[in-house]
Amino acid sequence: MPWGDREIVEDRVRVVIAEDSVLLREGLTRLLTDRGHEVVAGVGDADALVKTIAELADQGELPDVVVADVRMPPTHTDEGVRAAVLLRRQHPGLGVLVLSQYVEERYATELLAGSSRGVGYLLKDRVADVREFVDAVVRVAEGGTALDPEVVAQLLGRSRKQDVLTGLTPREREVLGLMAEGRTNSAIARQLVVSDGAVEKHVSNIFLKLGLAPSDGDHRRVLAVLTYLNS
């Protein structure tokens, strides 16, 4: 399931990885450096992550993006999410991509509270599709959004706007889902194998039906959709 933008894959980003499994941390590091990105640091728990970011920020070397696991020592519950929320508040320019064994609508809502700029929340399995995963890292580093399709499905399913959502055509629902994942129009067009113009038409129909003001910036568009679904 591709969800990346090929155009920005050449950009080199600086990454900090927080993951308690050494195997996975090494794997992620290899995967990212192999694609030409720089892994500034790798840590094993949330406290170390917050400390490392603070030190890097002091030296004026704030990374572009943090890739963090949700469950880390000491309690193995939601340290990653809490650290991510904290880091986003402390460093608004820092992209945060949270990886998890399971994705939960509730964590997504907590991560997205306030802004969908530079946020990612993906199933760990997605690293198996290397290119798309790296694309997502880059997208988040550049202020975009990368939400897992499963999270989006939960958000759509949980939304209180079911009556409006059932008014959308199946294609429009599909486009809405992809939008919520944080994709650009051209990425949506590629995925659905339709023209950019067709996607634009769907998007404007969706905004019309949901009663939202059309929005240009991709990440603002994601936020509008998510706010709508959550309200």
């Binding site: 469950r71 519950t77 939601d78 064994q101 399971y102 994705v103 939960e104 609508e105 509730r106 964590y107 199933l123 399995d125 198996a128 599709d129 499963e150 499905a153 939960q154 759509l156 399913g157 949980r158 209180r160 079911q162 959502l165 059932t166």
Partner: protein, 441 residues
């Protein structure tokens, strides 16, 4: 007064009767059974009382020697035996259904252990107490019942036999009062009629009196010969524990099967694909690439299956954020749109939360599989000391706890924690399932 114990007979008297109950009572079968119970009560009570007093005092007297213990145990065993007869008598004549008391718990084989268990069992001593308490009561109720019954019928039929007095006794009738100077005989038609009327009152009153007396007997049998409330609860809990152990074992089997059929099989296929690819790498890189591609697909599916399996065992978000958050993912997996409303003032204990989660999860699976619904909704709220769950859908209905093992299994699981499952699903729908769990916060 006797309605509580007379329920077994209630349906028989539903027939239409021309006579009112008060007039019917003296000749009713039920009254005769109760009267018979009281009549039998006295001789039985004498035997039981004699048995207990004799054997228990003998046993107690012999306690200084070792012989006392077997004698006492035999005394109590006898009381337990009598208890079986007494319960049968109460069941047959009074319609009092009393379950057998808790059986003797003999930890290990051997006469000594048996005697110890007999002497330690509360039920045995309650049986002995019954034989002692029932004796005075049987004497009392026998005297009262027999006196009332004979007086009543004798006076009622007085007009038919008063002639024996002038014919054989040389008197006008029953002598009501008599001293040296004057006597009062019931001999004129008015007095005879009044006597008969008094007899009628007695006759009519006797069945109700007997019923009141046997009600006390019913209470004695129930209270002293039945299972104690504690032991009844123990029996219930034992069956609940059985259900829990069964479901736990079934869950383990299911997990094992899922692992075996799912992830394990996929990993074998993956190893095979990769092994083949390794061999082909040199001579046919294109084929090798295709195999690696397939292996990649296999491993992703395996990951998905493992994730679903782990989540099925316990969803992490339930521990971290509670029911509301955990139900989002459950709702999104349902094939129809689900509205979820969770309105809880606090979080219940993890055990209750877990059962609530799996209940909703299973009910929504049913909605997906069987209901044919277009929408469904889940409501969770607290009502005093209960946690309430409601899952409803607008599907075809016809869900039944007795059919389909899914709902029955769910009901058993809920039962194990003193929960209740109520299914309202008429054919044609809609379906509403309400589950009630004890609130433990």
């Amino acid at each position: 007064m006797a309605t509580e114990y007379g329920q077994g007979y209630a349906h028989r008297s539903e027939r239409h009767h021309r006579l009112p109950a008060a007039l019917r009572a003296p000749v009713e079968a039920r009254s005769w059974r109760e009267f018979g119970y009281v009549l039998l009560g006295l001789p039985i009570a004498i035997v039981l009382f004699t048995w207990t007093v004799t054997t228990v005092s003998l046993g107690a007297g012999l306690l200084v020697t070792f012989l006392g213990i077997p004698v006492l145990a035999a005394a109590l065993a006898g009381c337990r035996g009598f208890g079986v007869l007494e319960r049968a008598r109460a069941r047959g004549l009074l319609g009092v259904e009393v379950a057998d008391p808790e059986p003797l718990r003999v930890a290990k084989p051997g006469a000594l252990a048996w005697m110890g268990a007999m002497l330690k069992s509360g039920a045995s001593w309650r049986h002995a107490l019954y034989t002692l308490v029932q004796f005075p009561w049987a004497v009392f109720s026998f005297s009262v019942a027999v006196s009332f019954w004979t007086c009543g019928w004798a006076l009622l039929t007085y007009p038919l036999w008063f002639w024996v007095f002038p014919a054989y006794a040389g008197e006008g009738g029953i002598q009501l009062y008599g001293d040296a100077h004057h006597s009062v005989y019931l001999d004129n038609p008015f007095e005879i009629t009044v006597t008969a009327l008094i007899g009628l009152v007695f006759t009519l009153a006797t069945p109700w009196l007997v019923r009141a007396l046997t009600t006390v007997d019913g209470l004695l049998v129930r209270g002293l010969l039945g299972p104690s409330r504690l032991s009844a609860r123990v029996v219930e809990l034992e069956s609940d524990r059985g259900a829990v152990v069964d479901t736990a074992a079934a869950d383990l089997r299911r997990i094992e099967r899922d692992l075996h059929d799912g992830a394990q099989a996929r990993l074998v296929a993956l190893a095979m694909d990769l092994g083949l690819a390794k061999e082909k790498l040199r001579e046919d890189p294109r084929a090798a690439a295709r195999m690696v591609e397939e292996a990649h697909g296999e491993v992703k599916t395996a990951l998905q299956e493992l994730r679903d399996l782990a989540r099925g065992i316990h969803p992490a978000v339930l521990t971290d954020r509670g029911l509301d958050a955990a139900l989002s993912a459950v709702a999104s997996r349902c094939t129809v749109p689900v509205r979820v409303e969770v309105d809880l003032p606090a979080r219940p204990t993890p055990a209750i939360e877990g059962i609530a989660y799996f209940t909703v999860s299973e009910l929504l699976q049913n909605v997906s599989k069987h209901s044919g619904a277009r929408t469904a909704s889940v409501d969770v709220w607290r009502s005093e000391d209960r946690l309430m769950l409601q899952v409803s859908d607008d599907g075809v209905g016809g869900a039944d706890v007795s059919r389909g093992s899914g709902l029955a299994g769910l009901a058993a699981r809920l039962d194990a924690v003193d929960g209740v499952l109520v299914v309202d699903s008429p054919a044609g729908g809609p379906t509403r399932v309400i589950a009630e769990l004890p609130w433990r916060g």
